[in-house]
Symmetry: C2
Subunit: 109 residues, 2 copies
Amino acid sequence: MKAAKRKQLEASGWKVGSAAEFLELTDEEAAYIELKLNLAKRLKEARTKRRLTQKDLAVRIDSSQSRVAKMETGDPSVSLDLLIKSLLALGVSNNDIGKAITNNNSKAA
Amino acid sequence: MKAAKRKQLEASGWKVGSAAEFLELTDEEAAYIELKLNLAKRLKEARTKRRLTQKDLAVRIDSSQSRVAKMETGDPSVSLDLLIKSLLALGVSNNDIGKAITNNNSKAA
DNA sequence: TAAGAATATGTCAAATTCGACATATGCGCA
DNA sequence: TGCGCATATGTCGAATTTGACATATTCTTA
């Protein structure tokens, strides 16, 4: 795994105890995190495009600002369920959600 | 909402108390269910293609046959997290997961 | 049709994720 | 600099999802 990706993950709330521990991520775990971060990014885009604050969105989905913040940083404590339900609440279609997952900035799939 | 879709949802484990209650599904709820059923379908495809039983898959993902069955029928008690982690465990890529969500058999998005 | 294998359904205590709250950090701008 | 607003982080009891188990149903195939 590349250092750049590690940085991305760390910056996104994934606590990495040690380099060794980090490198023990299986492909499956890495794919899961990547998928989650793609959705997180799409959520932030959708929200800011609509000029809503995290608090605004939180009210819409009966949640809290802190949970929205965690969603957008891909915090391990948030589920894909909540992320996807939030995207739907913002009017993002299933098609666009699928595209957000498919659109990987990385080189390989 | 069309009767055909209602049938599909009922056949997939979504208990519908009454027609009236059913019709109160918001677009958002309908989209969520559709997305989940798309993943459920893809999971069953991936598993059967690999000639695994539900029990086989359950062992791989440290779960149980009954939960795999619920995943494949789109049972309300299973999260998108579990569904997606199971797909990844079968070697399905993020790209293919995105496509499974995007590939809607329905007319509109 | 009978028997066995695979899948589906219902329930429950344990584990995880939730919203809420407090509080910290960042980010303009007067 | 200091103030106001937006976002991030840590924690907690409540709510939801979990694997496991029992059991029912469906599918094969002999």
